[in-house]
């Protein structure tokens, strides 16, 4: 496959054709913030945090689903992008009930880390304070909808790595919920294999191991990558 050259933030980069802007940037050590992206599953371009500016395009493009092109000029960290990223994060924090101080993922949370990185010291939009449920019916795992950001990582790993198809999205707009099977309690799900991949994939404290308390929820993403690498490349690299 032919290699293409492009510039990212002024830095010359080369990568094979078919590579996404995100992969090319990561390869060159340039960090682009992401939230719905997860190594090992396909990208959906939903969180809009990885939007980048490309010279010659009047639209902002998601780095995770945009393929590189020869001579492409990508900017990942402009004032405009920083402003939009911060607003996106503020919208997320205002949408549900993200209270870091009592969250199982406090200190190990991707949403928290991104907000810190973006310098988001306060939220300018009114909190929506929705009344949401916590599903504690599963013997091993819990699901707290208050902390869910609807990135659908859990849905994608459940369908495309585990192949169980337990998790899905119901409703629309602000009423979207991650559901199990036909919107029944997780503990009553027939299809769930108790594999825990969804818990490993979750970027916030929405999915957790039962029994962990504030700040104790640490995830091991390498297990997901290990399984995917083993399956796709027949290589057992830990």
């Amino acid at each position: 496959m032919a290699a293409l050259t492009l510039t990212i933030d002024g830095k010359p980069v080369s990568a094979p054709a078919g590579t996404t802007v995100l992969e090319a940037a990561q390869d060159a050590g340039i960090r682009i913030p992401t939230l719905c992206h997860l190594e090992g599953v396909y990208d959906v371009g939903a969180c809009r945090l990885c939007l980048v500016e490309v010279a010659g395009s009047n639209k902002l493009l998601p780095a995770c689903t945009t393929q590189i092109a020869e001579g492409m000029e990508v900017w990942t960290d402009t004032d405009r992008l920083r402003k939009y990223r911060r607003m996106t994060l503020e919208l997320l924090f205002a949408e549900r009930n993200h209270v870091c101080s009592v969250c199982v993922s406090n200190g190990n949370c991707e949403l928290q880390a991104l907000a810190w990185e973006a310098g988001m010291d306060h939220v300018r939009y009114p909190y929506q304070h929705p009344q949401l449920e916590v599903d504690q019916t599963h013997p091993l795992f819990g699901m707290d909808h208050n902390r869910c950001i609807l990135c659908t990582r859990c849905v994608r790993v459940c369908w495309h790595i585990e192949g169980a198809g337990t998790k899905n999205v119901a409703g629309r707009g602000a009423d979207c919920r991650i559901i199990t099977d036909l919107n029944q309690p997780w503990g009553e799900s027939d299809s769930c294999t108790n594999c825990g991949k969804c818990v490993m994939a979750c970027p916030t404290g929405a999915l957790y191991y039962k029994g962990v308390t504030t700040g104790e929820m640490v995830r091991d993403r390498s297990k997901l990558e290990f399984i995917v690498t083993a399956r796709e490349q027949k290589q057992w690299i830990a």
Binding site: G45, L51, R172, G173
Partner: protein, 542 residues
């Protein structure tokens, strides 16, 4: 089926015509006013009067002036009777006997009718949508025959390209270019999809076309299938249009029975079948990638483009998606020639556009006008202005993705570019007239509420941003907002517009931006002073 058989059907149908025809509108508007009963009573009266040999009572599609329904058109005297009730309907037979029925007569010389130019609606109100013979009698399926027998697919695409036809769904992408992209995309299997998921509030053009002339859409799709090399078509129609669905089903069945759909159409190598897919009530499924996901049986959410459907659409195959009105234009283009079509309209927008004229206007209904007709002509001449002589304030085009054109700019010619310059869009054809009693902030909030409810929830800016913008608009409307809230609203509009995943989110701020552009004072007069400023100037006493 060959040309002789097609012509024989036409001859037979024309030979069965009677001296008088009473055309009864049975599209959804008149039907809801009781036109099915009108038709029943008319048929009974004709039979009782022994006039069965003289008078045909024909079910037809939309007769345009919806606000005056049920409508009955009498041929050959060319008279339109409005507000015909089941009891008063038999009186129409007076006209056949040479008398004057005591019924309200419509003014067919009114600009509402004379300014219309029918291409898409040419058969609407003329043919019986439930009988394929009626469509064939109006030269239906002749264009399909000529295309598959006498033209190369390449020539069909060239004709569509030369006609200058652009997508009638709203964005105005050149139709010929889209067809040619799909035709050139590799792959053994291709699909043709008709987007009939019309969802803009106040818009009913596509519904009327499907209810009035479903065969023209099928014919357009079959021609497209031949041009791009597809064998399977889908019509994605929303469940809220039961009559359109029923008539489409009927039309597909009739066409299949005659061999106009199916294998080896007109003896050519073209195989083409059409299936219906019924939408479950999500506005976002009108977005092409969400629509395709829904056809595939998945959750109807959009995905980033590229890849565009022309390259990778249904089940990863090249897919041509056009809307109802676009397909309905195609048979006429092939029948009358691309030059004829290109001679109508403006330099960059060719042909006609169907609008659903609604809101604070006297004559509401369905209109088809050449591109380039001014908004003023449509609203004041054809629509007759606002009822009660009120001053017209603005015209909203393009639904929740569009904007409001203020009355002083109504001399704008209706075409894709002009409306975009004014911060609105052509859209699919909804046109809502507002008079001076309309509150523009309330209008903006209405559309934002619509977008908030219809957001699929996939991307954050649209899902959470519309909620916040709706909240801010409510705050402004209730007089609780400050200048800072307005600034926050504008900032959110900019952000949601530029970061949302699909067209729904990217255009959701348009109604706010356009009302802010032309009616900013209506927002500002509601603002109250900043609290901290007020306390700062207050002297500290005691």
């Amino acid at each position: 089926m060959d040309l002789n058989q097609l012509l024989a059907i036409k001859e037979k149908e024309l030979a069965s015509r009677k001296p008088y025809t009473l055309r009864v509108c049975t599209a959804a508007g008149c039907l809801s006013a009781g036109s099915d009963q009108v038709k029943k009573q008319l048929e009974r009266a004709v039979a009782e009067a022994g006039l069965s040999e003289q008078v045909e009572v024909r079910c037809v599609g939309c007769l345009r002036l919806c606000c005056q329904g049920p409508l009955v058109h009498v041929d050959p005297v060319n008279e339109l009777y409005q507000k015909v009730g089941p009891e008063t309907a038999p009186a129409l037979l007076e006209r056949v006997r040479g008398g004057a029925p005591p019924l309200e007569k419509g003014d067919l010389q009114h600009p509402f009718f004379t300014r219309q130019f029918s291409i898409v609606l040419a058969n609407s109100g003329v043919v019986d949508p439930e009988r394929i013979e009626s469509y064939i009698a109006a030269d239906g399926y002749r264009a399909l025959h000529d295309a598959v027998i006498e033209m190369e697919p390449r020539e069909v695409i060239q004709a569509v390209m030369a006609s200058g036809l652009r997508g009638r769904g709203g964005a105005g992408f050149p139709t010929g270019l889209k067809w040619s992209t799909v035709a050139k995309s590799g792959g053994a299997r291709k699909y043709v999809v008709c987007n009939a998921d019309e969802g803009d509030p106040g818009a009913f053009m596509d519904r009327s076309v499907l209810e009035s002339d479903p065969h023209s859409v099928l014919e357009g799709m079959a021609i497209a299938a031949y041009a791009v090399g597809a064998e399977q078509g889908f019509i994605y129609v929303r469940a809220e249009y039961p009559l359109a669905i029923r008539r489409l089903r009927m039309a597909i069945e009739q066409a299949r029975r005659l061999g106009i759909l199916g294998s080896g159409i007109f003896g050519s190598p073209l195989n083409f079948n059409v299936e219906l897919r019924i939408g479950a009530g999500a506005f976002v499924c009108g977005e092409e990638t969400a629509l395709m996901a829904s056809i595939e049986g998945r959750r109807g959410t959009p995905r980033p483009r590229p890849p565009f459907p022309a390259e990778s659409g249904l089940w990863g195959c090249p897919t041509l998606i056009n809307n109802v009105e676009t397909f309905a234009n195609v048979p006429a283009i092939l029948r009358n020639g691309a030059e004829w079509f290109a001679s109508i309209g403006t330099e960059k927008s060719k042909g006609t556009k169907v609008f659903a004229l609604a809101g604070r206007v006297k004559n509401t209904g369905l209109i088809e006008v050449p591109m380039g007709t001014t908004l003023r002509t449509i609203v004041e001449e054809m629509g007759g202005g606002a009822p009660g002589g009120a001053r017209i304030k603005a015209v909203q085009t393009g639904g929740p993705s569009g904007g409001c054109v203020p009355a002083e700019l109504m001399d704008v010619e209706v075409d894709y570019e002009s409306l975009t310059r004014l911060g609105s869009i052509m859209g699919s054809g909804g046109m809502i007239v507002m008079d001076e009693t309309t509150d523009m902030v309330d209008v903006a909030r209405f559309f934002m509420e619509f977008c908030k409810d219809e957001s699929c929830g996939k991307c954050i800016p649209c899902r959470a941003g519309t909620v916040q913008m709706y909240g801010l608009l409510t705050k402004i409307l209730e007089g609780r907002a400050t200048a800072r809230d307005l600034a926050t609203l504008e900032e959110l509009c900019d952000m949601v517009k530029h970061t949302s995943l699909c067209g729904l989110g990217q255009t959701a701020p348009n109604p706010v931006l356009s009302t802010l552009r032309f009616f900013r004072h209506e927002y500002e007069r509601r603002l109250r002073p900043e609290r901290h400023v007020a306390s700062a100037v207050q002297p500290v006493t005691g």
